[in-house]
Subunit: 250 residues, 8 copies
């Protein structure tokens, strides 16, 4: 319903002024305690709402999981501490918690997965961030393959996986320390690479800044970058790209 239709309905008396005002105010959310739950997000973005757990008050955390589950039939939370997982399990006992990825997940049964996203890490310490990306993409409906511990200091590990990587619609490259993985992969594939710097490292890695700079300066053209340790964002964007590849525009 576009604005012309609304105005014509007002003119013709088919719509009250109050209804029209509400339309123009685009009141696309409802208040819930002190946060605003964005229930129209699925319509707008095509993805269901996801719970970012850090610093959520306990009572609110339980309420939001219950509510989203009721509305969406499934629910996914990121960066949940074990204590938060225990709290949520009290009200959603069947939810799964991954201590590595720090995710809380309860999916609709028999969800179909489409397309292909590859998620790679340079080392084993990067796996938590990579798993957050992979599980996000899976929750949003993408098929994911994992290639962990294929960092550039042992190049044969990466090269042996190259044909597999070249089949993915999008590659998520997760690396800390010097973060060179994204550039090397980027030079070998034809689809976009989403680079995720991680805070893995010490000294002059500056908690992920070195890897971030490496990736932002990548000489491979197909590399774009998200925030340090932002596995969720990478999984989200990879799913957007994968969805376009599978379903085409709109």
């Amino acid at each position: 319903m576009d604005s012309k239709t609304v105005l014509e309905a007002v003119q013709r008396g088919h719509m009250s002024i109050e209804e029209a005002e509400r339309y123009f105010n685009r009141k696309a959310y409802e208040d819930m305690g002190y946060a605003k739950l964005d229930t129209y997000r699925e319509i707008r973005s095509g993805f269901p709402e996801v719970v970012y757990c850090p610093n959520k008050p306990d009572a609110y955390l339980q309420a939001i999981f219950l509510r989203i589950l009721a509305e969406q039939g499934e629910v996914f939370g990121t960066r949940a501490t074990p204590a938060q997982a225990a709290l949520v399990r009290k009200v959603v006992p069947e939810i799964m918690y991954s201590p590595v990825a720090r995710t809380l997940k309860l999916e609709k049964p028999n969800k179909q997965r489409e397309g292909l996203i590859a998620v790679c890490t340079a080392g084993t310490a990067d796996v938590p961030v990579a798993e957050e990306a992979a599980q996000t993409a899976e929750f949003f409906g993408a098929k994911v393959e994992r290639y962990f511990d294929v960092g550039v200091s042992g190049l044969h590990r990466l090269v042996s996986k190259m044909e597999a990587l070249q089949k993915a619609n999008c590659i998520v490259a997760v690396a800390g320390m010097e973060g060179a993985l994204a550039s090397v992969i980027g030079g070998l594939v034809r689809n976009p690479v989403i680079a995720v710097p991680t805070s893995v490292g010490y000294g002059a890695s500056f908690h992920g800044v070195a890897a971030l700079l490496t990736m932002i300066n990548s000489c491979a053209n197909c590399v774009s970058v998200v925030n340090i340790d932002n596995g969720y964002g990478a999984g989200y964007i990879a799913t957007q790209i994968n969805r376009l590849a599978v379903r085409g525009s709109k």
Copy 2:
């Protein structure tokens, strides 16, 4: 031709050892003066080779434009100075130079453009980077719409273009100073946003670092970032995504 096929051919005597060695060495480039021209790139990436002009010696610059034109039937160069443009025009007189975008372009006639990419800028000073992105995407075959000077300090300018932006397969958001454009667009669309910080600004903009940090920290999930002023990279990635949306996987 995969490695098993090659080895069977060797075993059967259908291929000489020298040919097989060449295969396994993947000699996918040829030397040309002191740089290595990557003539297989089009096959690997699906995109033709593009000339990054800065610091190229004059003689080499002319040679590389001529050679790529001969091989590809078209040629595109970025970040060319007016002096470089004049040099190239001596050997490729019909090439077009955009002093704003600093691009040199000679395209195949009647090239078809597919899909849709939107390129936005916050201000008019961001236009050179945005034009580099737009022309890159056009050279690689994408249809591009431009929305310039729609920065967040005058929000009505952006809001009035929202429906148009929502139709694009990928949005390139180009902004300097505080770089908030990408976040605002990201909250309103369902496809990926490639954010390009620019060096526009002064003082604590630190030549684009402030905008880069804004974009990397975007609260909108669909935003990934390329290097400061990297219009070419943004146009390249947007085209990859657009290509997937139009043609699907492979």
Copy 3:
């Protein structure tokens, strides 16, 4: 009493030399343990003294709350830990502690609130800083309206509050991560916006530096910035502006 008056009083013998010396030494404070309590501050600034609690020794903390309460009839403390709150309650049992804002407050009864200040946050995690600002302004006598969780990635939330924001004499915009809120509000109102970056975020948010840079580089002209997490300072300045709007100069 200006210096000429004092000197004439000395000349005429109406004032002793000791009294005059005291005047010229402007002995506007008295020593109290190892810190100097600024009892003339209310006269100079128009605002009562406020207690900044961090690192205050326990005994001194109790003493200073008691003394200010005795002198001013009310008292307000910021950044108090729960342990400090418990300590102060032992000597001022009726004081209120806000664990979210970390404030300790005992106000004069029936305090009138004047004018209007709007306090906004981008997300729920920014609320503690925003509450510190709001309560500071309220303690200093301003009327405050709160608009929390109206960040730019869901623009409709902010737009629906715009008319309310435009009525405020000063808007305090509190945001972490990429901090774009201040710019967007700044483009829509005609009164000053005090921007408060918060340390909310992770990775390249650098504990609030990214938001600080965004706000300092704001393309909206009416934005000025205080330190990261400095809700108190923002509330203080907003009250100064609100006071000028209500009472005029002097």
Copy 4:
């Protein structure tokens, strides 16, 4: 005219759908070449449009000065180079150029100036930024007093001006190097201080970053900060505050 009024007018047939649509689209700008001129800004902000000159193409620069002059009856430009000043003078011969402040100004005759803003600098090298602030405030209708070269290393210079500074509705404190001026003034006045760090200095002043950090960390509560060398922004905000002090809310 609020949205309810518009809708009622549509309902009653007093307003056409096209007119109402235009209202809701808030089409508050018109395209002019490749930039969007914000002609409704004066209504929204209460201030006329000002031209930020850097990097404006020559032809556009002349056109925009002419157009604003035609619409507003006066025009003000900042950061104009001498070459740009000469260009603009060709089409607006009576415009005044200040080589120190780099401003171009043509004001309505007999403009009344209201209230009081004080503009201070630490040294003489900070004067260009201070003059930009002062002239901006004057163009927007404020009365301005200048106190230049009153830096803290010769404290008597500042102290002797204190009574004058205490009368201003807003003080703009402009300083480079270590930028301590804002804190010292902030401790002596009761109205807001807008601090402007300048790029004056050398070595570890980092082109104004040291002064910016000093000001952001000011122990005086009434100090808020704008970007390095941003005299225009400081003058703008000071005028907003001064306007509130003189005219009150709305």
Copy 5:
């Protein structure tokens, strides 16, 4: 004894080769466990050895306090934790521990103090660093006066102490947050000011970096700076200067 004297003594047989070798090897230390105790330091610097406590193994800590006490008749340690203080007290029961300054001190009785050093702080939170400086200077034999909580946001506090400060041979200015104290004092005295930035502050104070930059960029010529929180170094240098003022060269 210079090298010529030694060599002549060797030539004349007044000194053995072994003694001369020892001279030329300048064997000015002896090994003690895994650290090298610099027992000649008092001769070289004129100051006794001082113990920097952090990270010293427990057994070594006790041994070094005992040994220095035996050799020097007094001992002084800095940055001692309460646990370390308890450890040292087991072997040197009469040693005094200051929990504020984190110093351990046992001085020779009836030590004379000479000259005058002033130690100032901006706030009360800077006192621990200031006390470290003051006690260091006192241990090394200087007379010290303390002026705490005289920061620039309440300028009258500082101005009233000015005559006292002007009598000191050296002033130590200790300040965190914006660190403006050193500049203001520096403009009012004729002897050197040693500035000590402290890590007091939050947000963009960056644990003392803002104050360090302020002080390094001081517009007052007489200010030189030591490391963040380095009270010991400031007390050491102030004593060197005070010693020169009292005793003259050599």
Copy 6:
């Protein structure tokens, strides 16, 4: 065995296609749980595999120590916590743990040590990093001499060791705070100096960044630098150089 040999063997039927494929895939690793153990590393680098302990899951840690011990007959781990040491000792009881260097070591009996590497530190707080370097080099077969606490503020300590240092094939210089040690040593020896900045220091040492910058800017030509606190890397490179000096090329 080079690729020509393999291909000839295939041609002559001496090698199966499967074997040849394996050769060309360079399948130089095997999967083990979620990490890839690089068992060919010793052949490639000439050094046995070493275990970097941080963040290794407990079960995996025990398994990897056992496996490497079984394959190599000895095993070496770095950065092991005391808790990890206890865990590993449960399965390899005879392993030695150094709480200072945080290394776990079980060496082949009667290992010969060759050549000479000198490891120096500026202070005693740098010893843990230096010991990691020294023990790494010893495990890899080098002879090591230690010169600890020879920092530049007591130059005689270093000068007296100069002749010894000049005999080493490689010198590892370990220093925090201002990190000047590497430059001074570098000016006095003829073989390479590997500089290791440490995180020792406080304030503006920025956890080793100051020392890193000092070393990277060294005016001595023979200094190259590894990451902050990277004793292992320095020991590794020093052993490579020492091995070349003892055994020559290949």
Copy 7:
């Protein structure tokens, strides 16, 4: 004359109120054009006024040299460009310009030099800053010895000058690149070392920041630091210390 004396004079009628007001206003400067000339500075600091030339307008530059010369009988300017030197020579023909130190100097004849300051540099590129320091100290009446190009990468150069350095009341250590000179000298002398980082270097020297950090983190206790390239400040402070050593307190 202290304030009590003044007030008694007023009481007794020996001093007019106007005179007393002037006293209390401490009107210690007079306006001159747009800058405030601090003619009482010599009384306050004991040093004559010095002209910092950068960015001084031409006419003002000539006027200020003439005026100071008239008042003080001598004049000294720093950081003068050759063009400024030519300008000043037009009005003060006998003034001397040093193109290396960028100083302009005209001294009183037969000025006596007292005490001893040593000025050292690490390399020849540091000489301009060192000469600024040395000439400043000489202008203020100190005796100066220069030791240039004695950097730590050739330690024998420095060691051979050690006895000479140990005689100075203050040592100025000027160094760029890694800036280790100050620490090494600081470990060998008993009087204060003023360290001046210079912008000499490239790459990660960051225009003097690396040297600044080295010096601020110096492990030698007697080192304090001034701004990058601030030879004037170092010469000023060294003269203050030298003056105390020669003349004692006051």
Copy 8:
């Protein structure tokens, strides 16, 4: 000749006191104008003196080339501008200038080159720094092979050179932008890799800082790093390692 021998010679009268003093003063240099020429350097380091040209005064530059040529029979200068090259050619007409590497070289005829150093670059823009490294190593007597433009975004270029690289005693890896080359090479060779970050790049490459951080954080153990653009240092260290490999210790 050690110190004991000297002292015995003095004791026995075989050596004069003056000769012995000279020995102990280690007067290993001679003054020449305002810089100290280190003529003993060849003995100490095994390498001849090299001229670092930037900022050398013209007359001194010519003198130093002539003098070194006279003493050493050959001469090598780095970072010479074309103007400096022309100046030197006036006095040493047969010297060769490389405008790419900015080196000036006149070598002894028939110099033998020993061992093998490989010098690699990521791109063609890194060649100037690489050539400086290569020519330095050649001047010091090493055999050098160059592998330019083998960056990681086209991995086949690097892989095809791998066997050649594995034969070198030391590899110099020169790269700007993201600097990943060193890590990839480091994972494939058994000898040390000296990494040289270059200032090639734009935006967030920060003039080489991004590449420097990448290399310092390299996950390949054999990588150590020199300053940005420091080709000379890399060539120097590579030659030291190569010399050890060819000639062994001492």
